[in-house]
């Protein structure tokens, strides 16, 4: 399949062969999304983060939609948005409509996701939609972007929307083979780039990246710097398949314990732990793999951006 043009800055930069960094923004149950914009500004300030994902109701919770924050981030902050879209809440008609609407607003990147099931969120009795699955969503985007039609072949009037579409991959998946095969399917129907879930194991990540190489599609490896011990513990206990390394956990715990009462010192200690873990991690990935970049999911942890990325 011929390569789709790079409509977005992100894809352009990737194709230019630069090691890119993307960030993550998370609108929650908010009427005021000031914190999202603030965070976006911090990312912009780094000069390294060139785009940011805006999440779409993670963990199945009912949150502010992703489209509008995406638009505002682009308009007000000037940071390119990666528009996450799940198939959980919209049928193919709504998806089509939303994508077209988003494209009109100037959104250039769309990350197609299945979405955490409603049974995990705060509206467990909701009816999950799943009319399409994430692969079929990519197919839909491809049809819109490449053919200028909807799924049934009806033409979009006034030209084709200009979007690049990404897909997700999970380096923690076990068994891994079906995950790889699934990514292959997504690439086949038109994914322009791949963003992965968070990884804590550099060897594992390298292996995973190696396996993805065969699809000839840029991969951004997800990393998750952790702001405090509580989050790490929660992550470890409650997100199956993800295990935070024990040394990392204990180091965080120690950092908090040693600096009880002194907020700044505690922050410094924690940052140090993260930096000691991630700086070599990223260097290793950059040096030894064909990864196109890093997707840094340091939500609400803006102060780490500068020190983490300064050497990249």
């Amino acid at each position: 399949m011929p390569k789709r043009p790079a409509y977005s800055n992100l894809v352009k930069v990737i194709r230019d062969g630069k090691f890119v960094i993307t960030g993550e923004l998370e609108p929650e149950k908010d009427y005021d999304i000031g914190h999202v914009l603030h965070s976006a500004e911090e990312m912009k300030k780094t000069g390294k983060i060139i785009a940011a994902n805006v999440t779409d109701g993670p963990q199945g919770d009912a949150y502010t939609c992703s489209m509008v924050p995406c638009y505002l981030v682009q308009e007000k902050v000037g940071l390119e948005a990666i528009w996450q879209m799940t198939v959980r809440d919209r049928n193919r008609i709504a998806l089509f409509g939303d994508i077209l609407g988003g494209a009109i607003l100037g959104l250039k990147n769309l990350l197609a996701l299945t979405g955490d099931h409603t049974a995990l969120g705060d509206h467990q009795r909701a009816r999950p939609v799943y009319d399409l699955d994430s692969t079929q969503l990519i197919d839909l985007v491809s049809k819109m972007v490449d053919d200028g039609t909807d799924l049934e072949g009806n033409e979009i009037r006034g030209g084709r929307p200009q979007l690049n579409v990404g897909c997700a991959a999970n380096p923690n998946s076990n068994p891994r083979e079906p995950e790889i095969l699934k990514v292959g399917r997504k690439v086949e129907v038109g994914a322009d780039f791949i963003q992965t879930q968070t990884s804590f194991d550099v060897d594992d990540a390298k292996e995973f990246l190696k396996e993805l190489e065969r699809f000839n599609t840029p991969v951004l490896l997800g990393l998750f710097p952790i702001k405090n011990y509580g989050i790490a513990w929660y992550f470890n206990e409650n997100i199956p398949g993800v295990s935070v390394p024990k040394e990392f956990l204990t180091a965080l715990k120690k950092a908090e314990k040693d600096n009880k009462g002194n907020k700044q010192a505690k922050y410094d200690a924690i940052d140090k732990v993260n930096l000691e873990f991630y700086v070599p991690f990223i260097k290793e990935i950059k040096k030894t793999t064909k990864a196109a970049g890093i997707h840094c999911m340091a939500v609400h942890y803006e102060r780490l951006f500068q020190p983490l990325l300064k050497d990249l």
Binding site: H117, T135, N170, N172, N174, E177, L181, P240
Partner: protein, 232 residues
């Protein structure tokens, strides 16, 4: 088989509260666990005890029907009794309850059960598992005989999603198998991963819209269409 689950006795009792004479009809048909005469009798006894605890008397008869969803069988079995009773409580699936309401227009039939899904019994592990959603577009041929509709919480055609860990599904707390991992295992076993990697396009949900009818003679001669053609 249609897997059913008996409603709370409170709920059943609330439905039949206004009546003093009820016919409790079991069904020998396909509902699982079986709800035949014994179950009907136990339910009737429970209702009588419940009525008593509410300070009322309840007269009942327990009976069973070979298949409540068959209009002729249900009618011939139940009609001799209906004159003497004020209401029917059916232990069949929704089909049976609907059918009794249709063929017995004089009194109401109330469901004693919730119809859960089309499934089969796993004897060794003592549960009923959903096997088929009657989607009308069978995928089993390309999924190694495991249905991703009935087996996947997200009904994915192109799974697995990121919500599986070690082959278990995020929905329900990582207890149930991920259908897509199972599909992969099975296709791998038979060296048919080609089926797995294939992309399956969006499904046709038109055929899922209720109410659904299939004309019995649809396939042999489409009379309606022919009529239309003639009219045109």
């Amino acid at each position: 088989m249609i897997i059913t689950k008996q409603k709370d006795i409170e709920e059943i009792y609330d439905m039949i509260k206004p009546y003093s004479k009820i016919l409790v009809a079991g069904c020998d048909g396909c509902c699982q666990p079986p709800r035949s005469i014994n179950e009907a009798k136990v339910l009737a006894q429970m209702l009588e005890l419940k009525a008593r605890s509410e300070g009322k008397e309840l007269k009942w008869k327990a009976i069973t029907v070979l298949r409540q969803c068959d209009d002729r069988i249900a009618a011939t079995t139940l009609r001799p009794f209906i004159e003497e009773y004020d209401a029917i409580v059916s232990l069949a699936c929704g089909l049976g309850v609907g059918m009794l309401n249709r063929i017995i227009p004089t009194i109401l039939t109330f469901p004693a059960q919730n119809s859960m899904f089309g499934g089969v019994e796993n004897n060794s592990e003592n549960y009923f598992a959903e096997y088929c959603e009657t989607c009308g577009e069978c995928l089993l041929g390309v999924t190694g005989g495991i249905c991703p509709m009935a087996g996947c919480a997200k009904n994915l055609s192109n799974g697995p999603c990121g919500g599986q860990v070690e082959g278990k599904c995020e929905v329900g707390g990582y207890i149930h198998d991920c259908a897509w991992v199972k599909i992969w295992e099975r296709l791998k076993k038979f060296n048919r991963l080609d089926l797995f990697t294939n992309y399956r396009p969006p499904r046709n949900y038109r055929i899922w819209s209720s109410p659904r009818f299939i004309h019995i003679y649809e396939s042999s001669s489409n009379i309606e269409e022919k009529k239309k053609e003639e009219n045109v």
